[in-house]
């Protein structure tokens, strides 16, 4: 299997009337990591949603290998695991059901599912609550269910938006461990975080640096 790089060239993003960032370029090779930092509203979430193809960029290009991602959007999306700042956990389902559902929806082979589910529940220490309805879970436990999807439905690019929010110290280490293992096996991660998180050697992108100047003038 070839492992093409994910390349951004001069990306820009517009939300409503406002240009959030412009001229953003990076290259993310296999095993690489990007850490997105910046003030609130600097566009961390917007950049992740652009990378997830949920928002069209207002300018620039996003390339998967040599091809623009729009040309190969189904193949590109199959490489993505997206954990947004919302957990996407239904109160009426148990963690095990939630993970099994997403594994099926991502097209994971059903023969591998039981093994992956156990691995996912173990990676985020959810074994004890695996069969409780999620409405009984704490915010941190729900966050771990959302993160456990990464293991239950494996994909090569992880897009994580504030993944450590609501996690205690011990569980943040579990997350860091999962990221390290993912990268060691050639996976790549893009993490937006305003709290310190150890994801190993990473390219840091401070989004404030890409805010358009006219916007500062307008805001000032």
């Amino acid at each position: 299997m070839t492992r093409p790089d994910l390349v951004a060239e001069g990306l820009a993003c517009r939300r409503g009337e406002r240009l959030v960032f412009a001229g953003l370029s990076f290259r993310l090779p296999a095993g690489g990591a990007l850490l997105l930092t910046g003030a609130n509203g600097s566009g961390k979430t917007s950049l992740l949603r652009v990378l997830a193809t949920l928002i069209m960029p207002a300018g620039g290009r996003l390339l998967w290998g040599m091809a623009p991602v729009e040309a190969e959007s189904a193949a590109y999306r199959a490489q993505l695991d997206f954990v947004g700042h919302q957990d996407g956990v239904k109160p009426g389902l148990t963690p095990r059901e939630t993970l099994a559902f997403w594994a099926a929806l991502r097209g994971t082979e059903s023969s591998r599912t039981p093994y992956l589910l156990d691995a996912a529940l173990a990676a985020f220490a959810l074994d004890r609550v695996a069969d409780w309805p999620c409405r009984w879970l704490s915010a941190g436990q729900r966050r771990r269910v959302a993160l456990a999807r990464l293991i239950a439905a494996p994909a090569s690019i992880w897009l994580l938006d504030e993944p450590a929010s609501a996690l205690d110290h011990e569980n943040q280490s579990r997350l860091e461990q999962a990221i390290a293992e993912h990268r060691a096996s050639g996976g790549r991660v893009v993490v937006a975080s305003h709290t310190p998180i150890d994801i190993g050697a990473a390219t840091t992108i401070t989004l404030d640096a890409f805010a358009p100047l006219s916007d500062h003038a307008a805001a000032g």
Partner: protein, 221 residues
């Protein structure tokens, strides 16, 4: 296919587990129909004349009650993002959700209708036609409703916006559904009405998933 069935099963088990959805819809349906004799008087001739129309209108309003839940929960908790990124095309995801919505609301409405038909004194032939017309017509209610539910996502007062969008679109199923029962009551044959109603449902099946998926993509931007 596994993904489609997975989504269908999940939505259905959520609807049945929370219980509220189906129960509320049926409760509203029964109460709305029962209210009419108090308003128009208990004369059997009057009720026979307007019974089918009452039941169809009550079924439309009952279906409308549950529509705001169709995408709203997924939109609020971020699962819609994940659905859009899954291996299942969004059009098929809409179809799976509509199918689950129909089994949880449309089908129970059709199954309840013969008992309500007894309340308004319909003859046995009309009751069978009413049941058939609701069975054929309620999928169109879920499918057309999905477009309005997707369009009104994120709107303030979503329920009101949704009703304004969807009720005019419910006129064709209403005309042919209630018309079928009327035709069967006067003995002129309901076949043509039921065929047109089937055409309405099939057209909704062909068109609505595309429209809903486009509206959902817009909502995710």
């Amino acid at each position: 296919m596994a993904a489609f069935l997975g989504l269908f099963r999940r939505d259905l088990s959520l609807a049945l587990r929370q219980g509220g959805d189906t129960g509320l819809v049926i409760g509203f349906f029964v109460l709305a129909v029962v209210l009419f004799p108090f308003g128009v008087g208990p004369e059997p001739e009057v009720l026979q004349r307007i019974g089918a129309g009452i039941i169809w209108v009550a079924a439309l309003l009952a279906a409308l009650l549950s529509l705001d839940r169709l995408f709203e929960a997924d939109y609020q908790d971020g699962e819609l993002d994940l659905l859009a990124l899954s291996s299942l095309p969004l059009e098929l995801a809409v179809l799976a959700k509509c199918a689950a919505h129909w089994v949880a609301t449309g089908l129970p409405l059709a199954l309840t209708s013969p008992f309500l038909a007894l309340l308004v004194d319909l003859d046995p032939g009309s009751i069978a036609t009413l049941f058939a017309s609701l069975l054929i017509g309620t999928p169109a209610l879920s499918l057309i409703g999905s477009v309005a539910a997707a369009l009104s996502l994120g709107a303030r007062r979503q329920g009101v916006v949704l009703s304004l969008l969807v009720l005019p679109l419910y006129i064709p199923p209403l005309i042919f559904g209630a018309g079928a029962v009327e035709a069967s009551a006067v003995g002129s044959g309901a076949r043509a009405y039921l065929l047109i109603l089937s055409a309405v449902s099939l057209a909704a099946l062909a068109l609505c998933p595309w429209a809903s998926a486009a509206a959902l993509r817009q909502a995710l931007e």
